[in-house]
């Protein structure tokens, strides 16, 4: 903030478009616009409302310059849900933005209400993209960025440990990274992370299934325990097991070959075929047939047949691991 105060204040562009649905990033982008408007004019008034709540004509009222020409920032949330009339009104205004007023349009970025987003781009709005972060690498990059933002560095091991322990929620990751940076000195390493965080925040049914298909009995049981401890619904674990078994069975029944051709035939993505091909090496046809009975049985068990779904899952994992040996 001190750097911004030293340089002459830069007024934000009169039109800003925040595209994407990653909440934390969207919030930060909006806040950045508000901050820079306030830096230019501390009296700036901020109005926040949902685009769907705008009645006809209300937008014109909001964007008309006030008598004393104080700045104003108008934040329109959920613009993708806006009706046709509202969208047109926004675009109309975008062609001739008023002096001293900053309009921030927050749009989820999908296909819904795409015309509005495209129109704003064409009207030279300042675009900030905040797409949802789904890949592990992107999340790791986010953590590194967060730590760097507070003037520190973090090792790759520490990033992995932090992601394991905290999970995938960006808000929590940002908070954890900030806290770690505040509590420690020097480069953040794995030991520093382990000191404050332990356990696993997110274990999915898929990671259990992966261990089972690889025949790692101890690892599978451990992962399953983590999953149950974290409250992963039994049904999801059972579904993941069933999906893994039938994928391997389908791939091995197809007789192998080019994964891209198989992917088209079996209607699944190539990476899944490749993974299943690797997993299918330890499996025989008989074992797969009995594994399919096991997963069908456990699917009923977790839906109320067994008195204890957790026990049923454990038994299924053991049965699957021994089916693999055959």
């Amino acid at each position: 903030m001190s750097a911004a105060a030293a340089s002459p204040p830069v007024r934000p562009q009169p039109l800003c478009l925040v595209l994407g649905d990653e909440d934390l990033l969207v919030e930060r982008a909006v806040q950045a616009v508000v901050d820079s408007a306030r830096a230019a004019d501390p009296e700036t008034e901020v109005r926040t409302l949902r685009a769907t709540d705008l009645a006809a004509g209300e937008l014109a009222e909001l964007v008309s310059p006030s008598l004393f020409a104080e700045g104003r920032v108008i934040v329109l949330h959920a613009a993708h849900e806006a009706g046709k009339d509202t969208a047109e009104a926004i675009l109309d205004y975008a062609r001739t933005p008023a002096e001293g007023i900053v309009l921030v349009v927050v749009h989820a970025g999908g296909n819904r209400g795409k015309a509005l987003a495209d129109g704003l781009r064409k009207a030279d709005a300042a675009v900030t993209e905040c797409p949802r972060i789904t890949r592990f690498e992107d999340r790791a990059a986010f953590v590194r960025e967060e730590v760097r933002g507070s003037g520190r560095r973090i090792t790759a091991d520490a990033v992995t440990a932090l992601l394991d322990a905290v999970g995938s929620d960006l808000r929590e990751l940002a908070a954890a990274a900030g806290q770690l940076a505040g509590d420690t000195t020097g480069t953040l390493d794995e030991a520093a992370v382990r000191r404050y965080h332990r356990g696993r925040a997110e274990v999915t049914g898929f990671s259990v299934a992966e261990k089972v298909m690889a025949g790692d009995r101890a690892g599978a049981l451990e992962t399953l325990r983590w999953a149950l401890q974290l409250g992963v619904p039994h049904v999801l674990v059972a579904d993941a097991l069933a999906d893994a078994v039938r994928t391997v069975a389908r791939v091995s029944a197809s007789g192998g070959g080019d994964p891209y051709r198989l992917a088209g035939q079996l209607g699944m993505p190539p990476w899944k075929v490749k993974k299943a091909t690797a997993q299918s090496r330890g499996w025989q046809a008989d074992g797969l047939a009995s594994a399919m009975q096991v997963v069908a049985g456990v699917n009923a068990d977790v839906k109320g047949v067994a008195a204890d779904g957790g026990y049923a899952l454990e038994r299924a994992v053991l049965a699957l691991c021994s089916a693999r040996r055959r």
Partner: protein, 393 residues
């Protein structure tokens, strides 16, 4: 043509019901009439048809020639489902909830408005949830004087109907109608030629509705063909997935065909009723408020779609089980009628190729799959497990 003609091949049950209706329409409600009835019988035997015929007979306004004349206003309106004193519960979803039952029970306390009896007909009483059964029980235990409860269930086994309800009802057991009776009704009522009617009756397994479907609907016939080809076509592990997929996809397509058009129309109707498509101030807020009601409707539609898909799959599995049963019967040279007499070549091959033990294992795999579907197992998983067991033998 009286109302009992629709009840196919159930002479004994019709005699009992007729006697009750005679007692019910004359003013001395003696021992032949009672306030709660439980119709049981295998699927397709006509439980709901019998219950509806009985309701019509009770409301008959021209009982001179015996109640249930079939041409008076009372009989007509009951059979058309528009009689003011006959309330029907026909569940389309997976279960009958306690809320529906409470509404119905509240209505049960009224006196009949135009007819002689207030009739409450519950089709598929086996789908009553525990709470719904208890709500109904209160009314069946202390019935208002002119109210009759007609419940339909596959059997009086406690799995199908609560013992507390059963013990307060008089049972009417329907049998599987004989093939000649089915063929007769198809020829008489639906105007089908004698050969088609006889064929459809012979392969329907005693299910009147299914026989009519097979006789009149080419799609139903081709679906049955596809299912019955399955046992001999399951050769390799790859066939397991291809055929299981075919079976599930056919069931899905059948279910969507039945429900998709209705879903769209219902949703549109509700949206219009809730002011969808309106403009002006407040329209957006109204649209948001309507979302709850639309979600509710979607939930009901989803439950209905799940049920029709399950029912479609179940019909296929019953055909499949019939095939293995036929193979077992012919392996043992049992002197019984085959379920699928038109597939006797395949049946003979199967009986020669597989041992009785292996046939029995296959039959059990099919039955286990039916049970799994009822327990909410994902159809694809259950059917693939079954197909893999059928292939292994």
């Amino acid at each position: 043509m009286n109302v009992w003609d629709a009840v196919v091949g159930q002479d004994e049950a019709v005699r009992v019901l007729h006697a009750a209706a005679v007692a019910g329409t004359s003013d001395d409600a003696g021992g032949a009439m009672t306030h709660a009835w439980l119709f049981t019988g295998p699927p397709g035997s006509g439980r709901s048809v019998a219950a509806r015929a009985f309701a019509a007979a009770l409301q008959c306004t021209d009982p001179a020639a015996g109640p249930g004349c079939g041409h008076c206003a009372g009989c007509h309106t009951v059979l058309a489902g528009t009689h003011a004193d006959v309330r029907e519960v026909v569940p389309e979803g997976l279960s009958i909830g306690v809320k529906d039952m409470r509404d119905l029970v509240a209505g049960a306390a009224r006196r009949p408005s135009t007819g002689r009896w207030q009739v409450l007909l519950i089709e598929d009483a086996d789908r009553l949830t525990e709470g719904a059964g208890n709500a109904l029980l209160r009314a069946v235990e202390e019935p208002p004087p002119r109210t009759v409860f007609l419940l339909c269930a596959p059997s009086d086994h406690p799995d199908d109907i609560a013992v507390t309800l059963r013990s307060r009802c008089r049972g009417v057991a329907l049998r599987t109608p004989p093939a000649q009776a089915i063929a007769g009704v198809l020829a008489r009522r639906d105007g089908l030629d004698r050969d088609t009617a006889a064929w459809a009756a012979s392969v329907s397994g005693g299910h009147v509705g299914r026989a009519r479907r097979l006789a009149t609907d080419a799609d139903a016939r081709s679906r049955r063909e596809a299912v019955l080809r399955m046992p001999m076509a399951l050769r390799t592990q790859g066939d397991v997935f291809a055929l299981a997929d075919e079976l599930v996809a056919a069931a899905e397509a059948e279910a969507t065909g039945l429900t998709a058009g209705r879903d769209a129309a219902e949703t549109e109707e509700l949206e219009t009723a809730l002011g969808g498509g309106g403009t002006g101030r407040g329209a957006a807020a109204a649209a948001r408020g309507a979302k709850g009601a639309i979600k509710d409707l979607e939930k009901r539609q989803k439950s209905r779609a799940t049920r029709s898909q399950r029912d479609a799959l179940d019909r296929a599995l019953v055909d499949l089980a019939g095939f293995y049963r036929d193979a077992l019967a012919s392996a043992w040279r049992a002197p019984v009628a085959l379920t699928h007499p038109d597939r006797n070549a395949d049946v003979a091959t199967a009986a020669a190729k597989w041992s009785p033990e292996s046939l029995l294992r296959r039959l059990e795999a099919v039955l286990a799959c039916r049970e799994a579907l009822e327990l909410n197992v994902k159809p694809r998983i259950a059917v693939e497990a079954m197909a893999s067991a059928l292939q292994q033998g």
